[in-house]
Amino acid sequence: MQRIIAASSLCSKILRKERQRALFSSSSLLFDDTQLQFKQSVRQFAHENIAPHASKIDQSNSFPKEVNLWKLMGDFNLHGITAPEEYGGLGLGYLYHCIAMEEISRASGSVGLSYGAHSNLCINQLVRNGSAAQKEKYLPKLISGEHVGALAMSEPNAGSDVVSMKCKADRVDGGYLLNGNKMWCTNGPSAQTLVVYAKTDVTAGSKGITAFIIEKGMPGYSTAQKLDKLGMRGSDTCELVFENCFVPEENVLGKEGKGVYVLMSGLDLERLVLSAGPIGIMQACLDVVLPYIRERSQFGRPIGEFQLIQGKVADMYTSLQSSRSYVYSVARDCDSGRVDPKDCAGVILSAAERATQVALQAIQCLGGNGYVNEYATGRLLRDAKLYEIGAGTSEIRRMVIGRELFKQHSSNQAALLVNLSASEVEVGRRGTVENKARLDGSYKAKSLSNQTASSWKSTPAKGFHMEWCQSFGNRWFMES
């Protein structure tokens, strides 16, 4: 009897050790020492200063009144992670920004979203596109947290089809007059500085868009009702109204008519940084579920000992880890200057959809308790869902990726496929090339006959071209 008791207590000790492993070392392989310190530091800050307010922020649909979270985060140097040091920023890259975004989102999804909108959509756009005078004027207060930043591109009738926006900017003496409405503006109600896109030329389609910097208090600019959202409650979102709002010449961000470049390039980086939001939410789900399955007992044992629960938790964990790896490797790529729209869209597409599933499973693991608002899991699900919609819906993201893939591997590319690096080889797989050959066998013969046997051997992706040749096998020999 004694031995059995000793064994079961040993089991629970091992489970406890596993929990410690999961909580502490789950991401240690992804970062170097400094990045890990950075992450732990932000984690501690968020855990002590933001997490205690998370539930109340959700219930009251507003940020806490007794503490200024913006200022607190500004004091901790969180806003200007990608901004130059001369304006009070840290001068670091997107990897660090993603790390900070993850830990803040882990503490509170709403605060994470508002933080992301402020620090990336507003501050980072100013950093990337602003003139020296504009940066000097707006960045210091935004980075310190004294001012809140926002960005507005969507309209009531222009969401996914954002280029069809109707908000007009008419040229007048000394500047522009803005007329129109903007919708879904995160931080809109409280922002002092906003990046707003409007059409300076309504006939020119995407080439008629210009980006402007709007200040709260400009005559003609006002905010309408704060939206009552399903999740991300407290991250204030509202409609912006422009009625003959005069914007001076010097507030054009970038160049007139070049706003679409500001918008689209900004969207890539926005998607990257925001994709750390659902990562934080997935981690928060594990933070709730793992202790719960040890404490909750049924049939005389902690429910965490049952295989079905262990299966759920395993799925949650692997979703988190794989999404996390994708996010951080794309962040590293962007820091090296390789910004690929497919991966920026892919990263938030994958992370957001998984986060919703992980949050659903978290509710399921808690059973009845998961259905009660006293536990965080309901809020985590409602917060996670937003990321499938904001920053381009999942459908738009799929379109961006699919369209890019199709464009990059058009029929002209068939002969060039052998020169691809190994990673891109997988993308232009056998299926694609074979289908092309079947569709247009004569074309293939033409491109192949231009190559001599020796040139095949000189290509770097040797493994691939061997397989490629084999897949064509007979056809190749027949037609040449």
Partner: protein, 251 residues
């Protein structure tokens, strides 16, 4: 004035520890480690003194295997200027640490040595007292308040003792060990974490310092305390006295 702070890398205070199956010690593989909380308080005090202008430099010191550098990096990120790492095998008893510190003090010549009152893994509460004895310096242990007088080169220390608070006046150079209520350690701010990467960590080996690790203490066994048994509800005072006398043997 230079301040030297000795810090130790221990199992994080929030971790639920477990004993190794062979009972030789506590499991430290794959367990979160961090700076001893009392050492954090010591470092915070040193940084406060430096910020008030009374000291020029804060040097953090740690002894042990190569992963001690993690703790030193945390110290540098909090604001220490330099760090020293004494490379040694795992188990160093307080007396050896004190002897090594003595050698470092002779090299660095600090005006003040601050340590945590004890480490949360061994709870020895010996190193501060031993190094003060070896150096012949005055000591203010369990400090809950420290005030400096620069002209008189004197530190007034409030100590938390069993009877209450004792106030001592120490001539510098002195040894101070910190207790819980002395201060609230700061976060390592993000700019400081980035700056810490370029701050120097000097490495010493035991041979260079010419100190022998000879332990007079051998750990025989480490076991968990017996599980707390359920209490018994008694029905009368007589029964209580009977149990105290005949079962617990305390009266």
């Amino acid at each position: 004035m230079k301040i030297m702070v000795a810090v130790k890398r221990v199992v994080d205070y929030a971790v639920k520890i477990r004993v190794k199956p062979d009972k030789s010690g506590v499991e430290t593989q794959n367990v979160k480690m961090s700076m001893n909380p009392f050492c954090e308080i010591a470092l915070e005090e040193a940084l406060k003194i430096k910020e008030s202008g009374l000291a020029k430099e804060v040097v953090a010191v740690s002894m042990g295997p190569s992963n001690c550098v993690d703790t030193l990096r945390t110290g540098l990120a909090m604001g220490a200027d330099r760090a020293i790492h004494v490379e040694a095998s795992r188990d160093l008893v307080p007396l050896t640490v004190a002897k090594l510190l003595k050698k470092l003090v002779e090299i660095e010549n600090p005006g003040l040595l601050i340590l945590g009152k004890q480490a949360i893994d061994d709870d020895c509460n010996q190193t501060g007292q031993m190094i003060a004895g070896l150096l012949g310096w005055p000591q203010g242990t369990f400090a809950s308040k420290v005030v400096f007088d620069k002209e008189k080169q004197v530190a007034t220390v409030d100590r938390e003792v069993d009877g209450g608070l004792e106030t001592l006046c120490l001539d510098l150079p002195a040894v101070i060990t910190t207790d819980l209520r002395l201060n609230q350690p700061r976060y390592a701010t993000l700019p400081n974490i980035m700056k810490a990467k370029s701050k120097p960590i000097k490495k010493f080996t035991l041979e260079e310092l010419n100190v022998e690790i000879k332990s007079d203490i051998e750990v025989v066994q480490v076991i968990e305390p017996p599980k707390r048994k359920a209490g018994v509800i008694l029905s009368s005072v007589d029964e209580l006295i009977d149990k105290l006398k005949n079962e617990a043997h305390v009266i």
